[in-house]
């Protein structure tokens, strides 16, 4: 037992002291933050207000186009040819032409632009015109505006999960995001740290220190010590990543947030200045409504995240992280012991990596339907459960399923560790021979 602790200590300390570990631990969160900051930055900077002039010969649509942060519309009363020729070099980005007979010929709307028309602008113009024509036609058919108003209902659903403890607001979006992140982290860590175990076992074998070591400790102790040591390194790294990322995010978030507010204000002001006084009132109202709405969505998601089973998620993440890692790293270790160099690992790697990759792919499906049969089955099988179950847990999983999955995973890694130990004890002393699958199978049943 004492020897296992010594081995764990060595494996842990030598890895944590490595430059690559320190660099990865520091650079990881920075990269993550930079990535997010980049996305947010791009979103902010793309808010580039465009001015659109509209020539409405039908006079049906004046004031019906809503001003947004992206688009400002100005209605003109002029000759089309004159406007067209004047567009080039003017302050306007596009010209929308609505003919007089729009009701009869709805496909005659034209949008002129120097640089090409964005899909967004096209969509907005089309839907505004469509909506207005609809209203006009309904009015013509004898339906009054008030009837119309009352017929328009804004339907937006609220998802509520029924569980013990009564109704809770839940957000499928928040659940999928958290589930997806957890699953991805487990997927990543199995590969990163499993491969570390494999490489370091091969290294011990090729440097021939292994024979010195196993004259002092049992091969099984050596293998377990290494697996546990690397697991602790993984947990340390993830822990540091979470702490550092949170730190960097708080600082970075403040800077980005300020910039966000500034740019929003700037946009609003420049928008307002360009509008006639009565339209300014309208626009202000619109802005308030829309910003109020987006605020609601954000608070909704945060609120829903609060209702997620956070404690369950954290505990089960730790368990499935460790369990999935143990299951696969034992197999990686067995491969590492069977080969003479890293380059020989290929032939044995495929059957190990296939279930991991498959699990990750199935996770994409499960995230959309976390209670399907596929989801339930794959969250039971130990080879896929660490990833699949983590996707499902934020959506709420019956307790019996979690317990069964946990027990199966424990059984699963005990089984792979046993197999791996049998292969390992033979493999580490077997030099200069290309090993086949058949031989690996035989090794399992060798006596000591």
């Amino acid at each position: 037992m004492n020897n296992i602790l010594l081995i764990i200590q060595r494996e842990y300390v030598t890895r944590v002291k490595k430059k690559s570990f320190i660099i990865m631990t520091i650079v990881g969160p920075l990269l993550m933050t930079l990535m997010y900051a980049g996305v947010i930055w791009a979103a902010i900077s793309s808010v580039n207000q465009k001015k659109i002039e509209v020539l409405d010969e039908s006079h049906l649509f004046e004031g019906k186009f809503k001003t947004t942060p992206e688009f400002i519309y100005e209605f003109k009363n002029d000759d089309i040819e004159k406007l067209k020729s004047g567009l080039k070099g003017s302050q306007y980005d596009a010209l929308v032409f609505i003919p007089e007979n729009i009701l009869e010929a709805p496909k005659t709307v034209k949008i002129y632009s120097e640089k090409g028309v964005t899909m967004e602008l096209q969509g907005r113009v089309e839907s505004a015109i469509e909506k207005e024509i609809e209203t006009i036609k309904l009015t013509e058919a004898g339906i009054t505006k008030s009837v119309l108003e009352s017929a328009k209902m804004d339907v937006s659903s609220e998802t509520i999960s029924l569980k013990e403890g009564g109704e809770k607001k839940s957000s499928a979006a928040a659940a999928s995001i958290i589930g997806g992140i957890c699953a991805f982290l487990i997927y990543l860590s199995v590969f990163i740290y499993g491969a570390q175990v494999m490489r370091s076992i091969t290294e011990e074998k090729t440097s021939r220190i292994v024979e010195i070591l196993i004259s002092s400790v049992k091969p099984f102790q050596l293998m377990i010590g290494k697996i546990v040591g690397v697991a602790l390194v993984g947990l340390t790294q993830f822990g540091l990543w979470i702490v550092l990322t949170a730190g960097v995010f708080t600082i970075g978030g403040k800077i980005v947030g300020d910039k966000l507010m500034q740019s929003k204000d700037a946009i609003t002001q420049s928008q307002m200045a360009n509008l006639p006084p009565e339209a300014q009132e309208l626009a202000k109202e619109n802005m308030q409504v829309s910003s109020g709405m987006s605020n609601n969505i954000v608070t909704d998601i945060i609120g829903a995240a609060d209702t997620l089973p956070i404690a369950t998620i954290v505990v089960s993440f730790l368990f499935y992280f460790v369990g999935g890692y143990l299951l696969y790293s034992a197999l990686f270790g067995a491969v590492g012991s069977a080969v003479d160099s890293d380059t020989d690992t290929q032939q044995f790697m495929l059957p190990i990596t296939i279930p991991i990759i498959a699990a990750f792919m199935i996770a994409q499906v499960v995230i959309r339907d976390p209670h399907s049969n596929l989801a339930i089955w794959t969250s039971m099988i130990p080879f896929t459960s660490p990833i699949i179950m983590m996707v499902r847990i934020p959506f709420g999983v019956p307790i019996w399923q979690i317990i069964l999955s946990v027990l199966l995973l424990i059984g699963g890694f005990m089984f792979t560790t046993w197999i791996a130990a049998r292969i390992y004890r033979v493999g580490i002393l077997m030099y200069g021979k290309k090993v086949t699958w058949k031989e690996l199978g035989k090794w399992i049943f060798y006596k000591n």
Partner: protein
């Protein structure tokens, strides 16, 4: 206190396709240097691994210091394998400390012993160096220190001199003798017969999974002596007498002759000399002692 550090009785070891050890019995007396010899693939390494409990035997018993070999005995054994290496990136000091602690030494005890060895081998400046910065010979020294640091009762050295220059080889040889003085028993496996000649008190020879011979080195050499004598002389050519036959005669440039005489059954050097001394001028006369090389080749050929 048992008289023998190791008693191996009828040990059998099977691998998938062959029997590596077939009913092998050896007795290693305490405080000796015991040469374990044999051609490549004879089963020496299999035997050594069983003693180190790296693998288990399929049959037979092993007594260590009078008791059945047990797990705790790994602390009483120091093993220097033939195929050996160290963690390349790890520093010399850290590495030795780690290996010593795996052999059951406390950190402080290991530190103290390491200091002695670093002074003895004059390698104090190596402590902070990573192993990969050392030459092969330097690494071998570190491995030797790792093997004997915990003062084991039994030290098993597999080709300990490979990779050493003559100066370091002598250094290690002296250390081995000193360890023996201090009461350790050393099992010494090698193909270099001159070091067997020089160091071993006992030898055992394994060939094709079986023990071929075992005993005191001097007894075995006696057993394998050819009963021949080499004579250098001036004068008329000798002829065979009832006491000896001439096997070979060779004239030298200076006019002397070198002859190999085979003594007849029951005759010794003095009987031969009586016949010769009257006839020729003797420059040199000595009994041919079997070299370990001869013993090895003869024994292996006989058993084939």
């Amino acid at each position: 206190m048992a008289e023998n550090i190791l008693e191996i009785k009828n040990v059998i070891k099977n691998y998938a396709n062959h029997r590596a050890l077939d009913d092998v019995s050896l007795t290693v007396p305490k405080g000796t240097i015991y040469g374990l010899l044999g051609p490549n693939g004879a089963g020496k390494t299999s035997l050594i691994r069983i003693v180190n409990q790296i693998t288990g035997p399929d049959g037979g018993t092993i007594l260590f210091d009078g008791h059945p070999l047990a797990e705790k005995n790994i602390y009483d054994i120091g093993y220097l394998p033939e195929e050996r290496g160290l963690y390349k990136k790890m520093k010399v000091g850290e590495q030795l400390l780690y290996l010593a602690r795996l052999k059951g030494l406390s950190k402080d005890a290991a530190m103290e012993k390491l200091k002695e060895w670093f002074i003895k081998f004059d390698i104090k400046t190596w402590w902070e160096k990573p192993i990969e910065d050392l030459s092969k010979g330097m690494q071998q020294k570190i491995q030797f220190v790792a093997t004997v640091l915990h003062q084991p009762k039994l030290i098993i050295l597999d080709e300990p001199f490979s990779g050493f220059d003559p100066i370091n080889a002598t250094l290690i040889k002296d250390e081995i003798l000193e360890l023996k003085e201090k009461g350790s028993t050393i099992i010494f496996s090698t193909h270099r017969m001159e070091s067997v000649e020089e160091l071993c008190d006992y030898i055992a020879l394994i060939n094709k999974s079986k023990k071929v011979l075992e005993g005191k080195k001097l007894d075995i050499k006696e057993q394998f002596k050819s009963n021949t004598y080499t004579l250098e002389y001036f004068g008329e050519e000798l002829v065979s007498t009832p006491n000896f036959t001439i096997l070979q005669e060779e004239a030298q440039l200076d006019g002397s002759k070198t002859t190999i005489l085979k003594a007849e059954e029951g005759r010794v050097g003095n009987d031969l000399l009586k016949d010769i001394v009257e006839k020729v001028n003797i420059r040199a006369f000595k009994e041919d002692v079997a070299s370990m090389n001869d013993v090895f080749i003869k024994a292996v050929n006989q058993s084939n």
